[in-house]
Structure formats: structure tokens, C-alpha cells
Amino acid sequence: MARRAPRSRRDLFDPVAQDVPTRSWTVLAQDPAILGPGGRALTTRVVVPAERLEAGPKGHRIHVIDFDATRDTYYKSRQAGPYDDPYEKVTDIERLVKDPWFHQQNVYAITMATLGEFQAALGRSVSWGFASPAHHLKVAPHAFADANAYYSRQSESLNFGYFTGRGAVTVFTCLSHDIVAHETAHALLDGLRGFFLRPSHVDQAAFHEGFADLVALFSVLGSPEWVELGLAGLAGRNGLIRSRDLTFDSLKGNVLFKLAKQFGREQSFVRGDALRHSVELEPSPVWLVHPSFQEPHTRGEILVAAVTRAFLEIWCRRLEPLGTDRGLPLNRAVVAEEAATAARQVLRVAIRALDYLPPVDLTFSDYLSALLTADLQLHPDDSRYRYRATLKASFESFGIPPANPRRRDGAWDPPDGADELRYEGLHLESLQSDPNTLFRFIWENGEALGVDRDAFTRVTAVRPCVRVSSDGMVLRETMVEYVQTMRVFARELAGLGIERPKGLSGQVFVPLYGGATLIFDQFGRVKFNIGTGVRSARQSARLQSLYERGAFNRGAGERAHFAGLHRQRMLGTKGHPEEQW
């Protein structure tokens, strides 16, 4: 048999049509439990880079390793036609579920698409957060027999379990679009903000979970096929939906809630029920102080609820000029497309906001100010669909005001004392790339920036970026992150103006973190100084929160951190260090 000649790069993409070559690969729109019309597999196609691939698939950022630790077995990957998408026309869900090569493609494509979404939103490439810098994230689609899936910094991997579901059917977590996107979001967030995995205020741990849920949810909502399925019950035979069915309450109850219930129920052990809970959670400041919401996985649902409600309002608002403001019915496909567009835009600003966060001791209020700043920078005019005003109002309805109370729009202010900052001897090019130059800038301007001179200071990131808004506006910035660390005995806390948690021994060594994110404009001038000090008023609350969660008592490592966290999401556990020996 004649061997097929290897294809040239020219065969793989058209350099005239694509300056950045991409290819589209088939993945499941949600999970195998959700079927399209006629019981057909509900698939969608996601865009991934047209990169050179090895068996795995293994590209330049992802290495799919199909190793099963429970069975100590390695499943080989597809060798032939590594660039083909043989599943484009497959509609038989059973065939997809039984084919591990499809599983490998599904995790590769969703992970790469999520990475691509982050890179597009941030306007630069994104690194993984491993201890020793590496370019490949390992992804194991059948990692172990367990109802769990997690990101692990230690093994530099995403691990997806499988388990026996109802009727002795094997359930594969790697086939759930949202679970794969959720774990990828953890990995990406860790790469962007490594200190967010450190113990801190409960909001910070909750943010990791809530943000990953947001990415997962809005990745799925960005698929019009899936939203259209949710709208099916509202549309008449002619495919039109009455305008009175396109209100906030109707879309919430009849579409989002319905979609939430359609998420494969078997997978709820792994993913939790963030969408359903966030749809059900009525706005109230009570949740932030409610005992049930003091653990990361449940507290993260507040964040998801605030953004989801804002999304619903924006979706409704986008339908008004199309006809709902005049009482006209709308085509189901159009309604779904508007939802997908709004979801993609909300997701993009949610990701972009990561650059406007303090590097440590994050609170939900910080995230709101970051969201508002990120959007304001690229879309100064918010009058059409009022994304920012809606997000702000939604967060506030859950008792989360912007961290910056001085501006009516809630965005961050330029730094106090910006005029006093000294730039002498610093070159623009170095300020956009060289950590040593940035450290010198911080050294020279310590007082104006509010740097604590007793703490150890380290520049942890220098990231130039080019962001492009949907209307073509280009924004060039350099995001710089520095972290300060001070380690003291608990008995020394009072001398720093920080309250020692009641019951914590004075002999315990306590790390205090501070630092800031500096945003430089295209001329190398500081636009924002978003940070918190090692002696800030937040430290008392942070230490109390840490103590209550047992962070000073046991040497619980970060290994399998998310494995435990995800299990807690399902079963819930709480330490009581004050009662332990």
C-alpha cells in the first residue's frame, strides 16, 4: 500500500487567508448526557493553533499523556493523520464515548482553546505556573478511577478521572467540556497569579474556584448550539420566541436553570452544581457572612452568581434593539447567538481583569474593581449595553462593592503621588521586559509606591501586552508584579499593628505577604499601583481566616491541592484548629 506523503505546511493552512494559522477540531459542546435533535451527539468545533503535532496529541503547550494510574496502563494515541479531525461528521454519541482517541482530541482541543481565549483576552502569551518553568502542561484524560478531576502544579498536569455511574456505565470527566475548561482555568490562573494558591483570605481561595467555574460556564455558554438547546422549550414551531418569554426571569428560569439541570447529573460529584446554585442564589449581602459560604467552593458560587446575573441582564439588553423593546418575537438562533456573543465578551473581560488584581490577599471587591478597570480601559463608552454598570450593580446586590470607593464607576484610581515617581536612568525598553530594571524602579520609588522597607521584595512578573477592543482600539501596557514577604513570630504581630488570632501560639512562624501590580502605559509611566502592604489592615482578617481553616496547624502541602478542594466541594469538611492538639 502506498504510504501517504507527509503534508507540507502549505497544505495545513492557507497563509493568505490566515496570518495566524488555526484549525478547527470537534469537541463535545457540553457532555455526553446532552444530545442534540434526534438524539445526535451535540458537538461543536473549537479553534486551535495549526501547530506541529506529535502523537498524544502533543503540541507546543499541551502534551496529552493517556496514562491510567489506577490500572497502570498507557493507552496509545492516534498515529495516522495527526492533523485531521476524523470526528467532524460523527453524530453517534456512543462511538465518541467509546473511542479514547476522541477523548484525547477532546481534552487537547478544549485545553488549547481555553489557553487561546486567555491569550487573546490578555494580549500576550501565558505561561504555566510550575515550580521549574516548563512549556508543556501534561493532560491525562483517563488519569485514575475516581469521581474527581484536578489541576496539579506538582505533576504539571490536568488529571481527569473516570468512574462507574448509574447502570454500571463508565462516566468520563474528560468528556465534559465545562470540567476540562474549569481545570484548564485553574492551571492558567496559577500561571498568571502564582500567589493565589497560597493560603490567604477566604475570598482568595474562593476566587480560584469561582473564577474557574466562570471560565467553564461561559466557555459553554459561548457555544450557540448549546444555548439554542436551552431555548427549545420557548420557541414555537416557526422557531420564533415571544418577546414576553425573553425577560430576565424567563431566561433565568426557563433557560439557564434548565441548562444547569441538563449538565450531566452524574458529573455533579466532580463539578458541583455551581451553575444551578448560582442561578438559585438570590442577591443578598447575607451570603458573604453566612456560615455555609465560608468555604472556598461554596463562596465561589457568590462570584459566579454575581457575574451570571449580570450576563442575563446584558443578554436581555442585547435583544431589545432586535425587537423585544417593541414586543416583537425573535428567532431562536438569533437569541442564542446574542447569548453566545455576550458570554464571550463577559468571559473576555473576566479574564482581562486578572491583570488588574493585587498579587496577594485578593478579595471579591478587588476583582470587581479590576473588572471595571479592565473594561473601562478598552471600552470607555459603556452606554450601549451598560456592561460595567450592570456588573457593578450585580456585585453590589451581593454586598460586594468595588474596592475603590473614590470613583463612582468603581475602577482603580491612578496612584497617589504619581508625579513624584522617578524614572531617571531607566530605559523604556528595559521597563517593559527586565525584572532587574523594574526592581530598581521600585527601589528608587519605594516611598511613593508604599513599599515596606522591612520586607523582602521580589519582582515576580514583567508582562508587556497589546490588547485590542472589539471596536479595534489598541491598548499597549506592561503589567509588572512584585511581592513582599515578611516572616514573623505570631507574638510579634501586635507590634506590627496586626491582631493575633485568638488561640494561636506566639511561637508559630507567620508569613505576611504584600506587594502590588504596577501597570505601565505605552510611554513607560505608571498608570495603576494596585496592591496591599504586609502591614495592611487586611492582615488581621486574613490571619484569622487562615487560623480558622487550620493553615498554621498542619503541614498540608499543596500537592493534590485541587483534588482535595474538589472533593470538599462535594462532601464538605472543615478543620477546627482551636480544638486540636
Binding site: T73, F144, Q154, S155, T164, S268, S292, R554, K574
Partner: protein, 424 residues
Amino acid sequence: MASDAPRRLTVRTYDVGFGDCFLLTFHYARRERHVLIDFGSMSWPKPKTVKGKYALRIAEAIREDCGGKLHAVVATHRHQDHISGFERQKGRGPGEIIRSLAPEIVIQPWTEDPTAPTDATAPARRGFTNTLLGMQQVAGQVVQAAAGLRGERLRGLREQLSAIGMDNIANRDAVENLQTMAPNRYVYHGSNAGLGRLLPGVRTTVLGPPTVEQAASIGAQRRADADEFWHLSQVFWQRLAATGSASGAGARPLFPRHPTGRLPRSAGWYRYTAMQEQGESLMSIVRMLDKALNNTSVMLLFEVNDTVILFPGDAQYESWMHALGKPAIRARLARVNLYKVGHHGSLNATPKTLWRGFEQKGGARTARRLATLLSTQAGVHGEAERRTEVPRGSLLRALRDDSRLTNTQEFAPDELRRAITLEL
């Protein structure tokens, strides 16, 4: 003093290594009443076991100490280290001897009630007991899976997994013996212990375990909708058990027709770390079920005149807080004269609130100084460097400094049991 009250109490602590076994003998004017609380071990004391069937020797010692008649048996909870001594082993086991002592009642937690799982009127309760059943199945599978963690580097993890997993495996032989050796009484917080007729003059209070309805916190349950939570929890453990069955030794391949092969060299490091993380994940599962079973412990408070004796099994924080949250009970706990140290001296079974409240604790000159009983064996559970070792060093120091401690680790090589006597 009531005329029909006991005048003295002898408490015998048997050296069962990492386990519990106590015989309470209430001395009345004309008779004695014997209550056996637990009989089990997950690691018998090694220098002694070489001499033969050690569990049988303990059973024979119990027979001798109670004069051939037990009045009550309390099995605080289902862990091996509390009930393995009740195994009959087809007529040759220590449980056969205990059975021959003809106890008149067996007291167990409500979670052992074989009718509980079918109690349709309380879905939360049914969910909880089914959850426990699922957990025990999973424990067996974890022991199997632990054996698959090969290599010297994973040895520590393998041994710990195996130890905790073994402790949680359902011990059918012992359970059936307990269910059939005498009428069973399944108790919960506030229920009648059923010892009134057998122990006249002794006020026995059941402090725990709480039912699901009594304490939403037991088993870490926090959700507003307890029924939904327990239903999910039950299904979760059932799914995990089914997964373990389908994936254990000799299981069918996941994709029977799909080619497998040698791992690429570039993925070798991942294999090792993945195996280690898998082991740690299993560990988190068994710790969860270990804690859940501990929290089903029967907690008994015996009061005779002004003497108070506390046997809490291995109850942990959630169960304790249910009892300590009630001011009247807290006041009675403050007067405890004899305390059986919970969970072999682990870090979280003697809440500091409880310990701080004991009025009789103090130095050697303290009047009616608190007596404590610690049945344990170092090196079985936890790690000193993570401050999780059992017995926990700081607790042991407090017990030594502020109580009259009986510690099985300090028994002589040929000492099977040690008795202390309290005048009542």
C-alpha cells in the same frame, strides 16, 4: 449514698496495642456487674503477640476478670480497633469466648441498626447509614489499590493507606456476633442506654452519637437541605464503591480493543508523580471515611453519687460539639473523675474545650485527681513532623502533667491488663 448503688468501680485496661478494650466492674454490696467496652485492635502489641494467639489470651483474661459473666457489652463503633476481638472465626476466635459470657445487652450506635437503612420516614438518616455502607466498601478497595502503589518511594504512603483502609473495612464476622450475642440497643444522643436495670444506682447518659437530625454537622454536613445532601453523599460513595469494583485487581481494561503500550520515555516522570498523587487522593478518601465512622461512636457518661466516668469512644469534633454545646451537659462533663482518652490520643478527639473544662485535672497533689486511660501504640498513625502523630505529643504531655495516666505503652512486657479502682 443510695442503698442499691455500687460502692467501688474497677476499670481494667487491656493492652491491645492500637485499639481499645476496657472492663468496668461495678462492685455492689453483694454482687458485681461487668460492662465490657470495646475489644479490638489494628496492631497488637508486638512483643506479646509472639507468644501465641494474643486476642484469645485477652478474651480469656476478660472471662477470668468477670468471673464468667458479662452483663453488658458496648461496641462504640465499627472500626477494627474497637470490634475485631468480637470475631468468632468459626468457633475458634476471641468473639466466641465473649459470646459465652452471655451478656444481657449489646449497646451500639444507631448507625448499626440494621433496620435504619430502610427507614423511609427519615431520608437523611437513611442516606447517612447508606453512606457509611458505601464508605466501608470503598475502604476495602483502597486496601487493594494501595498494594498497586509499587516501589520503595511510595512505601510510606502504601503502608498508611493500608493501615487506615484496613481499620475501616466492614468486619462482618464481628458485626454479626455483636448483633446476635444478646439483644441489641441502638443508641443516640439523649436516648436511654438500657443499663438502668443492670446497673442500679448508676446514671448512664448517652452523649453521642447525635442523629443526623440532631447535629447537622456530623459527617461535615452543612447544607440547608439535609435530605438532598445525604442522598448525594450516599450516591457518591456508592459510585466510588462501584468504581473500585470495576477497576480493582483483575478488572477489565477500560478500552478492551484499544492498543496499549510502553509509556513514552518523555512521560516517565509523570507516571511516578501521578501514582503518588493517586495514592494521596486515596488517602484523603480513607481519612474522610475514618472520621465519619469515628463520629458514630457511642459516648457514655456514667455517674454514681459524685463520681463521673466518661467513655467517648473515638468521637471527634462534630460529635463532641453537639454534646458540649449544651450547658447542662458541659457542667456535668466538668466534674469528670475518669476519662478514657478519645481515639488513642489523636490530635482531634479530645477537644481543648473539653480538656480545659475538667475541674479535677492538675498536678500530683490535686484532690481526687483526674484519672485518664490511654490505650494506644505509637507509630501506627500520623507523622510527628506534621504534628499528626498518634498519640499526639502535646496531648500526652498534658495527660502526664495534669492527670493520673494509665498508658498501655508503659505496660510491662508480660502485663496483659492494669486495673484502677475508684471509691464511689
